[in-house]
C-alpha cells in the first residue's frame, strides 16, 4: 500500500473540504479521483502533500504519516492553480526546483524532462511569457524532477489543448510503465476512463463509490432483448435477476449488476419456450455511472 487514508477529514470551520475518506492505493496504480467542481478533490490532494492540515483522521504515503518530511521525499505534485516564479526562464525555474531537492548535476535531468513535456526550444524564455498550457507543462516537468514514487496531478490538463491532453495521457502511461503511482484528480470522465485502473467518486466531500474501474463499470450492464411468445411469468423471473426491467421500442430492456447473469437470463428465456431473436449488452460508460451515482447522491441531499 503506497498510499492509505483512515477517516481522513479536512473541513474549513466545519464546512467544505472532504470527510471520512478511506482510500488505499497499491503501488503502480493510476488512481482517478473523480468528482464535480467543489467536491473536495483539490482539498484532498493538498492535504495529502502537506499543504493543508487534516481536521481528523490519518494518512500515510509510503508508510510515512502525511506532512512529515519523509512522506514528502518521494512525491511529485502539480497544483490545480499552478503558479511558478515567472521572472525566471523555464530552465532557471527547473534548476531552482532541482536545487531545492539538492539534485546534483541536474542539467541532463532538466533536459530530459523539458523534452518529455515538449518545452524544448522554449527553455530560455521567461516563464512569464509562457502560455497557460506551457506553464502547466513546466509544472508537470517540475513535479517529475525528483523521480517521485507517487505523483499527484490536480486537473493536469485544464489548460491544455486536445494534443496536450494526449501528451499528458502518454506521460501518465509511461509513469505507470515505470512502476510509479499516479493520483489523478479530474472532473473529466473520459480522461479518467482512458487511463485509470482504479477510481473513487467524490461528491460533497464524501467518497460515494470506489473500486477497480472494471468492477465499477460491470456493475451496470445494460441489456436489450428482442423476444416473442413470452408470458408474465418469464418477466417476473427476469426481474429477480435484473432491475429497471422495461419495454422500450418493442425491446425488453433491463440492467444487471453482474455480467454472469446474462447467460443465465438467456437460458431462462429459452427454457420458458419464448423465442429469443436478439440480445445486446452494453457496459455503461463511466459517464452513465457518474451521473447515476452523483445524481442519486443529489437526491438524498
Amino acid at each position: 500500500m503506497i498510499l492509505e487514508t483512515q477517516n481522513l477529514t479536512k473541513q474549513f470551520n466545519g464546512k467544505g473540504g472532504f470527510k471520512d475518506v478511506n482510500i488505499s492505493i497499491d503501488s503502480g496504480m493510476v488512481f482517478g479521483f473523480l468528482g464535480p467542481n467543489g467536491a473536495g478533490k483539490s482539498t484532498f490532494v493538498k492535504t495529502m502533500v502537506g499543504l493543508l492540515y487534516p481536521t481528523s483522521g490519518f494518512a500515510w504515503i509510503n508508510g510515512f504519516p502525511i506532512g512529515t518530511i519523509e512522506s514528502k521525499r518521494k512525491i511529485g505534485f502539480l497544483p490545480e492553480n499552478f503558479k511558478y516564479y515567472d521572472w525566471m526562464t523555464g530552465k532557471e525555474l527547473m534548476k531552482f526546483h532541482a536545487e531545492l531537492y539538492k539534485i546534483k548535476n541536474s542539467d541532463k535531468k532538466i533536459e530530459k524532462f523539458l523534452d518529455l513535456v515538449k518545452l524544448k526550444g522554449h527553455e530560455n524564455k521567461k516563464v512569464k511569457n509562457y502560455s497557460k498550457g506551457m506553464q502547466q507543462r513546466i509544472g508537470l516537468a517540475i513535479a517529475l524532477l525528483n523521480d517521485p514514487e507517487v505523483i499527484f496531478l490536480d486537473e493536469p490538463t485544464s489548460a491544455l489543448d486536445p494534443v496536450g491532453r494526449i501528451d499528458v495521457r502518454e506521460i501518465i502511461k509511461r509513469l505507470k510503465d515505470d512502476g510509479k503511482t499516479v493520483f489523478l484528480n479530474s472532473h473529466l470522465l473520459s480522461e479518467i476512463e482512458m487511463i485509470c485502473d482504479e477510481v473513487a467518486i467524490i461528491n460533497h466531500g464524501h467518497v460515494i463509490a470506489e473500486g477497480k474501474l472494471k468492477n465499477l463499470l460491470s456493475k451496470n450492464t445494460y441489456v436489450e432483448m428482442v423476444i416473442s411468445d413470452y408470458n408474465s411469468e418469464l418477466i417476473e423471473k427476469i426481474s429477480k435477476l435484473a432491475y429497471d426491467v422495461a419495454f422500450k421500442d418493442g425491446k425488453l430492456t433491463f440492467k444487471v449488476k453482474d455480467k454472469d447473469s446474462i447467460p443465465e437470463i438467456a437460458k431462462i428465456v429459452v427454457d420458458s419456450g419464448a423465442k429469443l431473436y436478439q440480445l445486446d449488452s452494453k457496459t455503461s460508460s463511466l459517464e452513465d455511472l457518474f451521473i447515476n451515482i452523483v445524481g442519486k447522491d443529489e437526491d438524498v441531499c
Partner: protein, 284 residues
C-alpha cells in the same frame, strides 16, 4: 534554506527595480552632497565669525540629518520590497510548488529573511558609507574616527534588520496589504515616539518623564528609532568623552539603556520564531 536565500537575492536583483533604486540613490546622494558643499564652504561673514564649536554642531546636525533620511529611505524600501516576502507567494499560489517538497516551512521563511537581510544590509552599508564619505570629502569639522564609524555602521545596519524581521514575520501570518499597513504604522509610531522622547529633554520633571515613557513604550513596539539614536551617539561621541550630539529631532540626547539592546536581540528572535511557528501551522 540557502537555495531560498540565493533565489531571494536573485529575484531582488532581477525583478525589483534594482537599477531604478541604484539610479535614484545616486540622485539622492548628489543632492545631499550639493547641500553639504554649499553649507561647508560658505564665505558668509556671520557663519565664518561663529566659533568653531558652533560650526561643528551645525555640521554634525547635517550629518545626522543625512543619515536620518537615508535610514528613512531604507525603511521605505524594506516595506516596498519585502511586504510580500511570504504572503506574496501564498497569495499567488507559487508557495504550493515549493512547500509540498521536503523543505521545512521555517527554512523557507528564514531563507527569505536571510536573503532580504543580506541585500538590505549591503544597500544600507553603501548608503551609510556614502553619506559619511561625502561629509569627509567636503571637509566636515566633525571628527569621525574609524572606530566610531564602524560602531555606528553596525547600528545603522541593525535598524533595518529589526524592521525586516517585523515585516517578514507579519508577512508569514497576514496578507501583503495588512503587512504593509502594519509596517508603516509601527514605523511611524516608533518615529513619533522617538521625537517625543527627544523633546522630553527640553522639559523638566513630570513632562519629561511622561514623554520619556512614551518613547520607551514605542521603542518596545519597534526599536528602530532607539537604534538610530544609538548609532548617532556612537558616531559622534569621542574617545575623550566629548560629545557633539546635537539636540533636535535627528539627534540623540537621550540614549538607550543596555537593557534595550538585550531586548532588541530578543525582539528579532521572538518575531522570527513567532512568525515561522504560525506559518508552520497554517493551512495554505
Amino acid at each position: 534554506m540557502l537555495t531560498i536565500t540565493k533565489y531571494t537575492i536573485k529575484e531582488m536583483i532581477k525583478k525589483r527595480a534594482f537599477l531604478l533604486i541604484a539610479i535614484l540613490t545616486v540622485g539622492y546622494l548628489f543632492i545631499y552632497g550639493y547641500g553639504l558643499s554649499l553649507a561647508f564652504h560658505n564665505n558668509n561673514q556671520v557663519i565664518n565669525n561663529t566659533p568653531n564649536i558652533a560650526k561643528i554642531l551645525l555640521e554634525s546636525q547635517l550629518l545626522s540629518a543625512g543619515l536620518y533620511f537615508s535610514n528613512f529611505i531604507i525603511a521605505f524600501l524594506i516595506v516596498l520590497t519585502s511586504v510580500g516576502a511570504v504572503s506574496g507567494d501564498v497569495e499567488s499560489g507559487a508557495i504550493y510548488a515549493l512547500l509540498y517538497k521536503p523543505l521545512k516551512r521555517h527554512e523557507y521563511v528564514l531563507g527569505k529573511f536571510i536573503g532580504l537581510s543580506i541585500i538590505i544590509t549591503v544597500y544600507s552599508t553603501l548608503l551609510f558609507l556614502s553619506v559619511i564619505g561625502l561629509n569627509i570629502a567636503f571637509g566636515t569639522k566633525v571628527y569621525l574616527g574609524l572606530g566610531n564609524v564602524f560602531r555606528a555602521l553596525f547600528f545603522f545596519d541593525l535598524g533595518p534588520v529589526v524592521l525586516l524581521s517585523l515585516v517578514v514575520a507579519s508577512s508569514s501570518i497576514m496578507s501583503t496589504v495588512n503587512t504593509g499597513v502594519l509596517a508603516v504604522m509601527t514605523y511611524g509610531i516608533a518615529m513619533i515616539g522617538g521625537i517625543l522622547e527627544q523633546m522630553g529633554s527640553f522639559f523638566t520633571d513630570a513632562t519629561s518623564q511622561g514623554l520619556s515613557n512614551v518613547g520607551i513604550i514605542t521603542s518596545l513596539i519597534l526599536p528602530t528609532d532607539v537604534i538610530f539614536r544609538k548609532m548617532n551617539a556612537e558616531l559622534l561621541t569621542q574617545n575623550t568623552g566629548l560629545s557633539f550630539l546635537a539636540q533636535g529631532p535627528f539627534g540623540g540626547t537621550s540614549q538607550p539603556s543596555p537593557a534595550m539592546f538585550v531586548y532588541i536581540a530578543f525582539y528579532i528572535c521572538f518575531l522570527l520564531y513567532y512568525g515561522t511557528r504560525k506559518f508552520e501551522k497554517r493551512d495554505l
